[in-house]
Amino acid sequence: MDIRLSGVSHSYDQFEVLRDISLEIPSGKIVCIVGPSGCGKSTLLRFIGGLEQPTKGEVLQIGNPPKDCLNPLTYIFQDFALLPWRSVRGNISLVLEDHGIRGARAEGIIADVLARTKLTEFHKALPKQLSGGMKQRVAIARALAVNPAVMLMDEPLSALDSQTRELLMDDLVNLWTRTPFTAVYVTHNLAEAVRLGHSIVVMSRRPGEIREVVHLETPLDQRHYGDSALEEKQKYLWQLMREEARAADAELVHV
């Protein structure tokens, strides 16, 4: 299943946030969206998943999601969004219960996603007992449990320290290499973008427009920390963004 955005524009009251965004998200690829803060990249992600509606333009699903897919468009949030009163297992079973999946079938799915995110022994823990990195792995496990056609990741590593971020990036690369998934990955961190993106969409400051789409050919599992080719790409992206980021930083917040 592919996603196509055509001519998406959005404004809050008189305030233009996004202008004429057209974008293809091909299946099996990770598309990163980078841009200065306040450029509307998270808003764009909410449009793609149907949590908000753009004032103009449309978001289209091309083709049907696979049969076993419970929730085609699945988010991973920056703040993890785990229910603090449910255990790791309970947080995952939450998203299965509404599909009538209980008992042995639910156990099977939960055991599988916990194993894939290396959380098997923590299934009884409450979120307050987990580190930030583990919380986000629980959120990833929860997303995997519904077998998404497209993962919508909203700054998933931004709340974590840089070591944990490296580890989780490796985890994501491993997950993708084993079973390629489609993802839209919003971040302000260029290092994450060049590690995880098959293509990187660079946005301008508000009103957000697409400045350039950069494609990276190196397979994900061959990109490593401190790779010089990647650093070249990252430098190039930073040059694109630098002025925008400076200007965005100097603006007043209108919210």
């Binding site: 449910r86 509404d98 979120p127």
Partner: protein, 273 residues
């Protein structure tokens, strides 16, 4: 780091950095509460025995205890307690459950909020005791008016606490529920209600204390038995020992209720940081 340890470097004087980060961190010292209580009672006992507290102002604590013992021995304690506890239970359960229901509805639906929040604000400051004669006419001089008074008194604070608690549920969790296509009912049952539980329980603490206050008021009219009736009768006869015995029972009732809610909180809210 070892080269930083010497206490004097050259001629400059070295001083320990003063600690200023203390306090503002409540810790649990349960026995101090008991100690304060014992101290006050002992002081009253000593004062009345030695005469620097006149027996007109305060009864001897030991006499109060004796009166309590007599009350217990005569079997009247249970007669008073059973009717009062029934009134308290029926009234508080009615008021609190209606209050939680209405509060959740206000929290969830803007129209209900627009319609009922001003009404609650109008009802809240009415001294419910003033309405007792009206309730007697509406619900009868028997148990009906007493249940109604207690229920009405617990209802409004519960409503206010509950919709505040629902408003405070983390919106990002609700977003998460929607993003996983959970049904409306599931979001309310599995996200909104558990998320609002801390606020609802702390609201209940206040409502239940109000229920005890109103119990005495409710027994002002048409009650032969009941802790409130017992206290009011003792008051009008200026029988201080019985008055204090009754008041002690109410206090114990309040402490028990508060402890019960504390227990429920620890059970239900062990997920909190």
């Amino acid at each position: 780091m070892s080269d930083l340890t010497p206490t004097t470097t050259g001629t400059a004087q070295a001083r320990q950095v003063a600690f200023r980060g203390g306090g503002f961190a409540p810790a649990s010292h349960r026995w101090i509460g008991v100690l304060v209580f014992i101290l006050l009672v002992t002081l009253a006992e000593l004062g009345t025995r030695q005469g620097w507290i006149s027996p007109l102002t305060l009864p001897l604590p030991s006499d109060v205890l004796k009166t309590f013992g007599e009350l217990y021995a005569s079997g009247l304690l249970w007669a008073h307690m059973s009717v009062s506890l029934t009134r308290l239970f029926v009234g508080a359960v009615l008021g609190a459950s209606l209050g939680v229901a209405v509060g959740v509805l206000i929290g969830l639906f803007s129209y209900v909020r627009a319609g009922l929040v001003p009404l609650t604000a109008a009802l809240f400051p009415i001294p419910k005791i003033a309405l007792l004669p009206l309730f007697v006419i509406w619900f009868g001089i028997d148990e009906g008016s007493k249940y109604a008074l207690i229920a009405f008194g617990t209802f409004t604070p519960t409503v206010v606490a509950t919709y505040g608690a629902v408003d405070n549920v983390d919106r990002s969790l609700i977003r998460m529920g929607q993003s996983f296509n959970l049904s409306w009912m599931s979001i309310v049952r599995k996200i909104v209600l558990p998320g609002a539980m801390p606020g609802i329980l702390s609201g209940l603490r206040i409502s239940l204390a109000i229920a005890i206050i109103l119990l005495v008021a409710a027994e002002m009219l048409g009650a032969e038995y009941g802790i409130g009736a017992y206290i009011l009768e003792a008051g009008s006869l200026y029988d201080l020992e019985r008055l204090f015995a009754g008041v002690t029972i109410l206090s114990l009732l309040g402490v028990t209720m508060s402890a019960t809610i504390g227990l429920i909180e620890r059970r239900l809210l062990n997920w909190r940081q």
